[in-house]
């Protein structure tokens, strides 16, 4: 079973990045009656979203976040040993977006850089890989970037995905050396590809290279199956993570979930007896931004940070793959949080 604890790594900072262009679901949505919008917004909880449009890629959002983060934490560019880019909306099928970002960010050519093709579960996986590389030795500083532009692969006329998706990027800095006496981080990582068709862009890959039907290039989602999967898997992965860490449910300061849909998230919170105050929601302002919704919610979810003590965060990603994962990490009092915007107003 894929579960492990990792020590000796600290989280230096997280910056999220979104496009400046704001889409108000009530004012800007066309092709829907007011009642339809109200119903969807009432359920999913998405009032407005940030939209990348045709010119902004997930790499641009991550670049802006990383530039801001590197400035804030004062890391010289040549001190970064590894860059991991987690995305399912890459600039190109090849090369890896991580290589583009290595040069755009002015990182040294001695830096390891690679992509990870995961979506909703990508942030815990990315943190796991970054922490693992550091704990393996040789790498002292790693940047984990996670960005998606789901609004660019969603067909707004498809009622199962419309009004839901926004775009976001993020940058997270990991460094060797944990705080004295700090408990290790815990990770549980799972997958079930039998549900691969429940959330899929069927066309444009090498299984279906150039489909004639343009809709095959857009995402297709079976919301009922994804919800059913979430109810089954999320409580279990949280329970497994708590047991692995040897702590109780109440020892977690915040449960930061992938912001999938307000109805689903509230059901999960109720089912697990998690107080809503411990589960920040950013869907209202940003929509479902895929996996980057976790770092976005850490920076934008109004987390209270008591002086002199690290926050214990349970981060849970679940969805496309199907894939789900948790990361139980500590956000120390010195860790920097920030938020950047990429200007793309029409």
């Amino acid at each position: 079973m894929a579960k492990c604890t990792i020590s000796g790594v600290s989280l230096k900072g997280i910056v999220s990045g979104v496009p400046s262009r704001r889409f108000d679901n009530f004012k800007d949505a066309t092709g829907f009656t007011e009642d339809e919008v109200r119903k969807v917004v009432g359920m999913a909880g998405v009032k407005s979203r940030r939209m990348a449009g045709d010119a902004v890629c997930s790499s641009d959002l991550c670049q802006a976040a990383a530039e801001d983060l590197l400035g804030k934490i004062g890391w010289p560019r040549d001190s970064v040993d590894a860059l991991i880019m987690v995305t399912q909306s890459p600039d190109y099928l090849l090369p890896s977006t991580a290589c583009l970002l290595q040069t755009k960010l002015g990182l040294p050519t001695t830096c390891a850089a690679f992509d990870v093709g995961l979506g909703c579960s990508g942030y815990p996986y990315g943190l796991y890989l970054g922490a693992l590389m550091i704990s393996g030795g040789g790498i002292k500083r790693a940047l984990v970037l996670h960005g998606e532009t789901p609004s660019r692969f969603a067909d707004e006329s498809d009622r199962s995905v419309s009004l839901l998706f926004g775009d976001a990027g993020s940058a997270t800095a990991l460094e060797a050396g944990g705080a004295d006496g700090e408990a290790p981080w815990s990770f549980v990582l799972h997958s079930d590809g039998s549900g691969f068709e429940d959330l899929i862009i069927p066309g444009g890959g090498f299984r279906e290279r150039f489909p004639e039907d343009r809709r095959r290039y857009y995402v297709s989602m079976n919301g009922a199956n994804i919800f059913s999967f979430s109810i089954k898997r999320v409580p279990a992965v949280i329970q497994d993570t708590l047991e692995l860490a040897g702590i109780g449910k109440d020892d977690i300061d915040y449960y930061v979930f992938h912001q999938s849909n307000q109805f689903i998230m509230r059901h999960l919170a109720k089912k697990m007896g998690i107080a809503e105050a411990k589960m920040p929601l950013t869907l209202g302002d940003f929509g479902n931004t895929g996996g980057p919704s976790i770092p976005l919610t850490i920076t934008q979810g109004n987390l209270e940070r008591p002086a002199g003590r690290a926050l214990t965060l349970m981060l849970v990603g679940y969805g496309v793959g199907l894939s789900w994962a948790s990361a139980l990490v500590r956000l120390g009092p010195g860790a920097v949080l920030g938020h950047a915007e990429v200007q793309n107003q029409p």
Partner: protein, 86 residues
């Protein structure tokens, strides 16, 4: 039988409540497309209420099976959620 099992008539009222529709319009033979609120959002509410009220987690196959109110009763019966016999 589940500790939370309901009679068939209680389930009909329960279905009506989920889809916010008058109970007298809900019979086992009522089809999915005859219930306005049983759409892609309504199915999420149904899945959530099955979990909350009966502790029943539906499989993907069971979700695909649900085409009428009778199918809902049948799935619940299989999970011990129905107190009376057909």
């Amino acid at each position: 039988m589940s500790a939370v099992a309901k009679s068939t008539s209680e389930i009909l009222t329960w279905v009506a409540d989920i889809f916010e529709t008058p109970a007298d319009g809900i019979r086992p033979e009522t089809k999915r497309d005859e219930i306005d609120a049983w759409d892609s959002l309504g199915i999420l509410t149904l899945i959530a209420r099955m979990d909350e009220d009966f502790q029943v987690l539906l499989t993907e196959d069971e979700i695909q099976e649900l085409r009428s109110v009778g199918d809902i009763i049948e799935v619940l019966r299989r999970h011990g959620g129905v107190a009376d016999n057909p």
